[in-house]
């Protein structure tokens, strides 16, 4: 089995998208490109568990074949890393399921195996999860209502890189916020292995009332294709070097 790169968008929002395309539709589109969309909805500390505006969180993640969770600020750090890892496992399980179907027939999935064999397959999935390369684009909603939550978001993202960098596989993170000043999304950090550098540079907030989640997701998708291009070139280079080594 090939050890590919897992691509994810992690959307952090407090819901209430109100401009542009339907975010769920865009998420489906993004998922078609092999990029998983995960969504974390942040609650106000005094908000109830099932508030208005956050229904879209689960919808977007389902459409994007990813994982969603709605949390209070203080649980954000752990949620960010668990959602990211869960989504990885889920994607890899999907990949393994497809292999199983090819080997054992169309109706065969991990869940249909007897528990004993399932254990062995899960070990493979776990192994892949530890060793595969991951690209995570973090998309942070910085509309006015998110104002007081951004310091926590920053902490959580640094924490995410601590968790991810403990893995054997390589990681690549980038951070974008939306809405941007004149663009749909604003780059905070370009693809890099570490996230320590965000300590100082979370941008000023846009104070307007718009939350164009759909367009932002779409724009985020294109950031992958760019990096994919440069990456695939690199890979070719590497294989060339290997060949000359013979």
């Amino acid at each position: 089995m090939k050890k590919g790169t897992l691509k994810q968008i992690l959307l952090i929002t407090d819901g209430c998208s109100n401009q542009g395309e339907d975010p769920s539709m865009v998420a489906s589109l993004v998922a078609r490109q092999g990029i998983t969309v995960n969504v974390i909805g942040i609650l106000e500390d005094d908000q109830q568990e099932d508030p208005m505006g956050l229904e879209e969180v689960e919808e977007i993640a389902q459409a994007g074949e990813g994982v969603s969770q709605i949390v209070y600020q203080k649980a954000l750090s752990q949620t960010v890393q668990s959602v990211t890892k869960q989504a990885m496992t889920q994607t890899l399980q999907g990949v393994v399921n497809q292999e199983l179907k090819q080997i054992l027939g169309p109706n065969q999935t991990i869940e249909n195996l007897p528990p004993d064999q399932r254990g062995e397959v899960m070990e493979v999935v776990e192994d892949l999860g530890e060793k595969s390369n991951v690209e995570v684009l973090v998309l942070v909603d910085t509309s006015a209502s998110m104002q007081n939550k951004l310091p926590t978001v920053k902490e959580a993202l640094i924490d995410l890189s601590v968790s991810m960098n403990a893995r054997i596989g390589k990681n690549s993170f980038s951070i974008y916020t939306f809405p941007g000043k004149r663009k749909t999304i604003q780059r905070v950090i370009d693809w890099s292995e570490q996230l320590d550098s965000i300590s100082s540079i979370f941008p000023k907030l846009t104070s307007g009332g718009i939350t164009p989640t759909g367009p932002a997701l779409k724009e985020a998708m294109y950031q992958f294709s760019k990096s994919k291009l440069s990456r695939s070139m690199k890979r070719e280079d590497e294989s060339n070097i290997e060949e000359t080594g013979y």
Partner: protein, 316 residues
């Protein structure tokens, strides 16, 4: 791609039956024992009347991973590290949904803080030593506990023993920690990575001790390491173990056995230092240097006597 299952109801009322699809065993729910990130645990009665703990969840993959760990632990020689695993199966709900579950030994005991309350805080040292011995065996087999915390252990049996009741976070050495709890995680305290290595568990041992001493826990603060040092020094409950715990907190120990040895030395010679430290510890919360005072005293006396000896030797 795998589809996301709609959230399923995994709650069972006492008296309901859970039947396995593959192995056909029946379990009658007695009561709920707890609920975690992955599913719920129920106290159940097996067909032969034996009480067992049954963990059930819609997250089949996570259940499978935990079962894998329990199987691995059962191969470690000596006293059991985790609970015994009895059965693994699926339960098909009336609405067609599938839940995965496994059945394990029901460890009936007391939470560590409650035990210490009832029998005396001195017991903590004994349990720490025993815990370190168990961890050493685990580490020797290439595993790290990961999510080590008070909630995941229980005092049980005679003689009392600290048993591990939830080993779901157990991770192969060298990989990334599978599951952790912020308060116990050295990454959160900015004192190390989340790579699974023995020192990761030893840090969590320190936090367990601190959690016993400060049942309400405490905040990280701006300087996490300073916070921990201060908390370690400001509690009488941990005074006897403080030097060792502080070293483990900083990641000084390579192995559990090493920490166990040093802790053992501290505990066994405790009576002498106890007499000295006693009148000083309770009051004057602000001054941390008081702990080091007896040491300083000894050093000064030693130094003066050496000087005198030198003077005596060379000049007289």
């Amino acid at each position: 791609m795998s589809q996301i299952s709609k959230k399923q109801d995994t709650s069972f009322v006492p008296g309901s039956t859970i039947q396995g699809k593959w192995n056909k065993q029946h379990y009658i729910v007695v009561r709920k024992l707890g609920k975690g990130a992955i599913g719920s645990v129920y106290l159940c009665k097996r067909q032969d009347g034996k009480q067992v703990a049954l963990k059930i969840s819609e997250k089949g993959a996570s259940i499978t991973t935990e079962v894998n760990v329990l199987k691995k632990l059962s191969k470690v020689q000596g006293k059991p590290l985790g609970p015994y695993l009895f059965d693994v199966d699926d339960f098909l709900q009336a609405n067609g949904g599938r839940l995965s579950f496994y059945v394990m030994e029901y460890v009936n005991g007391k939470q560590l803080p409650r035990y210490l309350n009832e029998k005396g805080a001195d017991w903590l040292g004994v349990f720490l030593l025993q815990l370190l011995a168990d961890l050493e065996r685990l580490h020797q087999h290439g595993w790290v506990f990961g999510d080590l915390k008070l909630d995941n252990v229980m005092v049980t049996g005679t003689p009392p023993r600290l048993r591990w009741i939830d080993v779901g976070g157990t991770t192969q050495i060298g990989r990334s920690i599978k599951e952790y709890t912020e308060f116990y995680d050295r990454g959160y305290w900015k004192l190390g990575s989340r790579i699974a290595e023995p020192s990761y568990d030893l840090f969590a041992v320190v936090m367990m001790a601190l959690h016993c001493a400060y049942p309400k826990q405490f905040k990280r603060g701006e300087y996490p390491e300073q916070t921990l040092k201060r908390k370690l020094r400001h509690t009488r409950m941990l005074a006897a173990y403080q030097p060792c715990l502080e070293k483990a907190m900083k990641g000084y120990y390579r192995s559990s056995a090493q920490m166990q040895q040093e802790l053992n030395q501290l505990i066994t010679k405790r009576k002498i230092s106890y007499l000295r430290a006693q009148p000083q510890t309770p009051r004057h919360k602000g001054k941390t240097d008081q702990v080091t005072l007896p040491l300083l005293e000894t050093a000064v006396i030693g130094f003066i006597s050496m000087l005198l000896f030198l003077i005596y030797y060379f000049f007289i």
